[in-house]
């Protein structure tokens, strides 16, 4: 082996070393970021459409197609109470002002509980993400830790490693049709929701951001893209459970995930 070849091998090894894929780890163990904890939405955007119930026909910012506008225009505010959990499905729940508690239900399943609407989402990694028998408000969510491939120099073949650790990516399908906003702005049951959950700290505070892409061939003319932010809270002392359907029971304490 010549000097050049040896140096080349050293360089390649040095390149690869920091990016070596970890041995098979459970998703919980492999988490590059910690999304667990108590979070509160801070409504600094779309305030009028999130904190208040907008008027019928006010679908500002939502890329509805003509069919979607037609459905939205037919919404009856008098029947708001009977809308139940339509505005709390996975395509909208992150935009509903409220609090989240996120924890690991198992090594491969994250659980998100909301106080607004008292919804529970299960984000399942890998093969644990089996499709439920029927469509639900929260649908079927398949999770993975996103990694950003970073080929450079000579290109993919030599440098394709596990990439840099990224966000929590979640793709949700199998949804019941619902509302993007409480004033009847619709999404259909073929909707696919892609979300990136990420973490950051600024000015001494921890934040969770959720980048959401809603694709609905029935009512949208392009992907509906929003990003929502949540501030960390120390505990559940401000938890204010409000069911979205009259008479529905709050989540029992035993159902709450471990912190």
């Amino acid at each position: 082996m010549g000097i050049a070849a040896a140096y080349l091998m050293w360089a390649m090894a040095a390149q690869a070393a920091p990016q070596a894929p970890p041995a098979r780890q459970a998703p919980r163990e492999a988490a590059p970021i910690d999304v667990t904890g108590n979070w509160v939405s801070v409504v600094t955007e779309d305030w009028r459409w999130r904190m208040l119930i907008p008027k019928r026909g006010d679908y500002s910012s939502v890329p509805l197609n003509p069919e979607g506008r037609k459905v939205a225009d037919q919404w009856d505010p008098a029947k708001l109470a009977s809308d139940g959990c339509k505005a709390y499905g996975a395509a909208a729940i992150m935009r509903v002002p409220g609090r989240l508690q996120i924890g690991w239900e198992s090594d491969a399943t994250l659980r998100i509980e909301t106080d607004a609407g008292q919804q529970i989402r299960h984000l399942r990694f890998g093969k644990s993400a089996e499709a439920p028998a029927e469509r639900t408000w929260q649908g079927r969510s398949v999770a993975e830790w996103d990694r950003i491939r970073a080929p450079g120099g000579l290109g993919v073949s030599l440098q394709q490693g596990p990439g840099r650790p990224g966000a929590l990516k979640v793709v949700t399908t199998n949804l019941k049709a619902g509302y993007l906003r409480k004033n009847g702005v619709p999404y259909g049951e073929d909707t696919m929701v892609t979300e990136y959950f990420d973490r950051l700290s600024a000015y001494g505070t921890d934040w969770l951001t959720v980048f959401t892409i809603v694709e609905d061939p029935q009512y949208l003319n392009q992907p509906f893209i929003t990003s929502t932010h949540f501030k960390r809270e120390p505990d559940r002392s401000k938890w204010r459970p409000t069911p979205c359907e009259p008479g529905s029971a709050p989540a029992a304490a035993s159902e709450r995930p471990a912190k």
């Binding site: 050049a4 910012s61 840099r164 990224g166 950051l200 980048f211 990003s227």
Partner: protein, 598 residues
């Protein structure tokens, strides 16, 4: 064999470069998506501050904002300030600046969305001194954290969060987080402004990769493009709404159904528990106009100090002119072949340090000191600094230097510091101007450039001069303009005189494109500024003058005016409850002066 070694080293070098580039690539054109907050990004309504964690000072300043202000000549070319720019309706572009030799990433350029081009330095450099100028784009440094470019920005001009007057101060800073998810880009922006916000404001903006776009497609705006959009209004008019004028707010409330309390914003309105309050309107304070609570104070927010207090700091300003700060009032220094010219000499307490600082700039004698006015923090160093220098010429038969530098000021300054024989003067003889010029101006030529002195009567004092270095394109303003406090109204001064002086400065300054740079301004106290900073200050002083004038017109007493707090939204930035010049003293002086003008 040699060829193989060369090839191997080449390959290894490329791989090493690959490692250096291992951050996510943000390069390219990114088109904004508008699926959030659309009404806040296009024609946002006056009175709509929903979702903004404004404090009382913030929403009061917002409510006084008149859209016509944007049409004044000094504001027509203002671009989107960085605290707002990513919300603009256009594409942004990230470009890498790579060092040609090392291959290392030096910086990102961020263009677009009607903001000014920004450089995000990635080379680990420090942020500038707190005395350095502020710009619309600020000064940004970045680092990569995991999958995110984290950008820290300081030195931002007074600006806004929304284009309806929701304000940010020049003490605001930003943290930005740029994260790429496939062909999408998330920009999470925090604005921290202790002057106008109750807590840091967070906003997320979304972009999609858009290769055919062009982030620079909208052309230019500079003095040549400015037109008379407010025909018939007197020069120096500052459009604004007086307290209690609420029609512009009422219009938004009526059309949107948003309660008045919520429309004012505030941190509490951004949390879910506020929804319970919205469901019980009796709990809301929906008065359209809330009189300021008497006695409530807004403590002064201290600007960041990046260097040791008491030390002389030297900053280049422009051309041959430098700023020396830390000796009392600011000292402007002009350096050239002829020697050193000072505008003001500080308090005199740290003359040795001033001399040492001057020696770092040039090994030349002080030839002239120009005093902007007669206060000891600006001419206390005269005696010793003048004595340490010397002047030339003077019509003597030889060209030997004459001991002592010339001291030039308006005649009123000489009158203020001198005294007839036998009487006690305000300053020792050696500190007196060697020439007190009469009238309204004086011309100098020194170090290869023309220098104009303009007297502004009855402003900060009765003897103020503006000093304009024509080639360097720098004005030293004395205390007619400061960035640290409300204007001090001294002996022989007046609020209207200060405003006239500020407008005089604006007559002289000419900004470069996008209302930035161009003529630079050295204030009597505080940081280096440009025309846009003077405009903000002029507007503030004019608005306060208009309010007090209106109150006097209504027959209000001084105590009633003080209780009405006509300065309320500016107190955290410029006010003071203690010290030699308090907010109360400022209002009293303004009231007394304006009452005499009735």
């Amino acid at each position: 064999m040699r060829q193989a070694i060369r090839a191997g080293l080449f390959l290894a070098a490329i791989l090493k470069a690959g490692a250096a580039f291992a951050q996510i690539d943000l390069s390219g054109e990114w088109a904004a998506t508008f699926h959030e907050d659309l009404p806040h990004r296009g024609g946002v309504r006056l009175g709509d501050y929903t979702g903004l964690p404004l404090n009382e000072a913030g929403w009061r300043k917002a409510q006084s904002w008149d859209e016509d202000a944007r049409s004044t000549p000094e504001r027509q070319c203002i671009p989107h300030v960085v605290t707002y720019a990513l919300r603009g309706p256009a594409t942004i572009r990230f470009t890498k600046l790579i060092d040609a030799v090392s291959g290392e990433l030096q910086a990102y350029y961020l263009h677009g969305s009607y903001g000014r081009p920004r450089t995000i330095w990635m080379d680990g450099r420090e942020h500038p001194s707190d005395l350095a100028p502020h710009t619309w784009g600020g000064f940004s440094t970045g680092t990569w954290e995991r999958n995110t470019l984290v950008v820290s920005t300081t030195h931002i001009k007074t600006g806004w969060l929304l284009r309806n007057g929701a304000p940010t101060s020049d003490l605001a800073t930003m943290q930005e987080y740029f994260t790429r998810y496939g062909d999408y880009l998330l920009a999470t922006v925090f604005v921290n402004d202790p002057v106008y916000l109750e807590e840091p404001f967070i906003r997320t903006s979304n972009f999609v990769l858009s290769l055919p776009s062009n982030a620079d497609a909208w052309g230019n705006c500079g003095p040549a493009q400015i037109t008379d959009e407010l025909g018939g209004r007197a020069k120096g008019t500052v459009p604004h709404y007086l307290p209690g004028q609420t029609a512009h707010i009422q219009e938004f409330l009526s059309q949107s159904g948003v309660p008045a309390e919520a429309a004012r914003g505030g941190a509490a309105t951004t949390y879910p528990e506020y929804m319970a309050k919205l469901e019980n309107p009796s709990q809301l304070d929906n008065r359209l106009f809330l009189p300021p609570a008497p006695g409530k104070s807004f403590p002064r927010v201290a600007p960041p100090q990046t260097e040791v207090a008491g030390e002389i700091r030297v900053l280049p300003v422009q051309g041959n002119v430098y700023l020396l700060a830390g000796a009392g009032g600011n000292i402007a220094v002009q350096i050239g072949e002829d020697g050193v010219l000072l505008v003001d000499s500080g308090s005199g307490a740290v003359n040795d340090k001033v001399m040492a600082a001057l020696r770092t700039l040039a090994n030349k004698p002080i030839r002239m000191i120009v005093n902007t006015h007669a206060h000891p923090d600006h001419m206390g160093g005269n005696e010793r600094l003048a004595a340490a220098g010397n002047s030339t010429g003077g019509g003597r038969p030889s060209d030997a230097p004459r001991a002592g530098a010339l001291i030039i000021a308006h005649k009123a300054v000489l009158d203020a510091v001198s005294a007839p024989t036998g009487k006690q003067p305000a300053m020792p003889f050696g500190a007196w101007p060697t020439e007190g010029y009469p009238g309204d101006s004086k011309e100098l030529f020194f170090d290869g450039e023309a220098i104009q002195l303009f007297h502004v009567p009855a402003a900060h004092t009765d003897g103020d001069s503006l000093v304009f270095f024509r080639r360097s394109d720098v004005i030293a303003t004395g205390d007619i303009f400061v960035t640290t406090s409300y204007p001090v109204i001294g002996k022989g001064g007046s609020l209207n005189g200060v405003i006239a002086g500020l407008n005089r400065i604006l007559d002289i300054t000419i900004p470069k494109d996008w209302q930035e740079g161009g003529t630079m301004v050295i204030p009597g106290h505080g940081r280096i500024a440009d025309e846009a900073d003077v405009v903000e200050y002029r507007d503030m002083v004019t608005i306060i003058r208009d309010r007090i004038q209106d109150m006097i017109r209504k027959g209000m007493t001084l105590e009633q005016v003080l209780a009405a707090r006509p300065t309320v939204e500016y107190d955290a930035r410029y006010g003071s409850e203690t010290g030699p010049w308090t907010t109360r003293m400022f209002i009293e002086a303004a009231y007394q002066g304006l009452s005499q003008n009735r």
